[in-house]
Amino acid sequence: MSTERTTLERVEAGLARRRRKELLFKLTGMFATAIGVVFLGVFFTTLIVKGSSAFQQTFLKLDIELSEAVLAPDGELDVRYADFDGLVRTALRAQLPEATSRVDRRALYRLVSVGASYQLRDLVATNPELVGTTQTLWVPASSNVDMFIKGDIDAEADEALRPLSDQQISWIRSLDEAGRIDMRFNSALFSNGDSREPELAGIKGAVMGSFYMLLVTITLSFPIGVAAAIYLEEFAPKSRWSDLIEVNINNLAAVPSIVFGLLGLAVFINWMGLPRSAALVGGLVLTLLTLPVIIIASRAAIKAVPPSIREAALGLGASKMQVVFHHVLPLAMPGMLTGAIIGMSRALGESAPLLMIGMVAFIVDVPGGFTDPATALPVQIYLWADSPERAFTERTSAAIIVLLGFLLVMNFAAVILRKRMERKW
């Protein structure tokens, strides 16, 4: 054989090396993907394992005598001052008569949530005719009972180190044996505002706060963002100024969100005098935050409209405005809406700027408007994650699940919208 190598031989000589490189690259890619998937899996599993129990809550069955003597001592029923607490306690004592000393009784009362008397009050307020009867009711147990039933408190542990005494545990067991303890759907989680008592704490206040904020954000940022994008893409003369604006908008999209919070604090609260902790201010700050995202997405969508469509319309004698509103906007709309939804989901998950404008306060009432003190879902998560009680830990995870659910729905909506509005040309 001659020393001259043919082309084929040269190619074949290099082939093994090429294949090796390809394989290595493929493996690296698979490894990277696998790591991502594993982390995601761990994240979701821990979240669900920790959070799913919060959707269930322990209830106690009590036979409560709505005695007229207690509720209306002067013959007049006033639900604001009536001693519902006393009724609940009486029922509890009747259930477990062995607790006689003051200390024992106090330990006994701690088995039931203060929510029980609120529940009783609401019941009597809506049905005053029940006064004088005895009602069998399921009332919320205290969070410690709840934790014990869910297996989060170890009965074998040192008594001094757990929140329930041996006595209380034996009471719970006897109630359980009597069929007076049950796990039910935790509707309080969705119908209550925040509370110091974990078993009464809910996310409704935070959800409504987030809702009002997003309403402000979308009504401001979408029209402003789209108008700015149209102006910059279609009308603004190309100059050093427009370049400068473009660079700044892109930079703005990368500014840490907490900076927007500081800006909001300085401008909206200190200078314009808007109320602290209000959804209105939160919405304004999130508008600043999402505006660059929407402008960038909208400009990309406008750029993607084929120039031939513009030329066709211009050639027919359409004015610039008509070209934009009759042709460019309808074609760019799916992209713009997708951008808006992505901006909104970013706004929904944002917490740092809200801390700066006082939306981190402990607020029990569900906000009823834009200027009411409010908090937001991610901030609520932050607040609960900060609470030491075990019962708040599971609620933190539950709130995260709800937040992720909202985000999932929004991103899904973006996909569907894009699919439905996409037109071929």
């Binding site: 031939s308 030329e311 050639g315 027919l316 004698g317 037109r423 040309w425």
Partner: protein, 308 residues
């Protein structure tokens, strides 16, 4: 002059452009920069006038010493040309010679290109179309345009044709609009094919049908001049033949300016032919004269296939 030499000319080599075969015998040193300009009888210092006859009876649009610059690129140089009423004029020439650029001057589509600058005088029916008071929107209603690639709007067939009349307020009621749409489709030879599917998107038609839809859309505005930039380049011979027939019919009412790369098409549809070369208008004449007896060497080279 051989083909290789010509190719060099087009690649920025200041190869002198050869003198006409007949006509002026004086050797003019010609560079790529400024040459061959001028209105009939009018010579610039360096140049020589366009060969043939740039005038016509009954001119409707007149271009006089038109220059177009894209930034520093002098894309159209001292072009003067008359466009007659009820007549088809074909613009031919090698790629990049400025046919589209000149065409787009006639309805001010160049206004939409930021770097483009147009000088000289272009009149429509005696009025300067670049004068201050002239609204380009109104001009484009009078000078319609059909593009190289069919570009129907992503709307229904009906809405495509109705769009122009709608924005210009040409129809007072739905019946009149229907009338305009149907007659335009009829004249574009498309009505038979689409009358049962007017609600379907214009983009669902075949390429040839789409181009006829675009023509229908243009004539629905009832323009006085129609500009066509290689309207058949994306079409098969059958669709091309239909559109050529259509041009024949339309030329009874409109002035038509068509850019084409097909000598045969130019020969079939046009009454006059203008040959462009590197931004210069080299020769203009009656179609049969250009194809049987070109005056300029460049024209001859081009139509015999030596440049292209």
């Amino acid at each position: 002059m051989t083909m290789t030499a010509m190719t060099e000319t087009s690649t920025d080599n200041p190869e002198p452009i050869p003198a006409p075969v007949t006509g002026s015998s004086k050797e003019v040193p010609v560079s790529r920069e400024i040459v061959l300009p001028a209105y009939p009888g009018q010579h610039t210092e360096l140049g020589e006038k366009t060969v043939g006859n740039v005038t016509c009876d009954n001119p409707f649009m007149i271009a006089e010493d038109v220059n177009v610059y894209y930034g520093d690129n002098h894309a159209i140089q001292h072009v003067s040309l008359e466009i007659g009423k009820k007549q088809v004029i074909a613009l031919i020439g090698p790629s990049g010679c400025g046919k589209s650029t000149f065409l787009r001057c006639l309805n001010r589509m160049n206004d939409t290109i930021e770097t483009a600058r147009v000088t000289g005088l272009i009149t429509l029916d005696g009025e300067d179309i670049y004068r201050k008071e002239q609204d380009p929107v109104a001009l484009r209603a009078r000078v319609g345009m059909v593009f190289q690639k069919p570009n129907p709007f992503p709307k229904s067939i009906y809405d495509n044709v109705a769009y122009g009349p709608r924005i210009h307020g040409l129809a007072v009621d739905r019946a009149e609009l229907d009338n305009i749409v149907f007659s335009s489709l009829e004249r574009a030879g498309l009505l038979k094919e689409v009358k049962d599917r007017l609600d379907e998107p214009g983009t669902s038609l075949s390429g040839g049908q789409q181009q006829r839809l675009c023509i229908a859309r243009t004539i629905a505005v009832n323009p006085e001049v129609i500009l066509m930039d290689e309207p058949c380049s994306a079409l098969d011979p059958i669709a091309t033949a239909r559109i050529e027939d259509l041009m024949d019919e339309l030329s009874e009412d409109y002035a038509i300016v068509i850019v084409t790369h097909s000598m045969q098409q130019a020969a079939r549809v046009s009454k006059r032919v203008a040959y462009f070369h590197l931004g210069l208008l080299v020769e203009v004449d009656e179609t049969n004269k250009i194809f049987t007896n070109p005056q300029h060497k460049l024209t001859e080279d081009y139509i015999t296939g030596r440049i292209g």
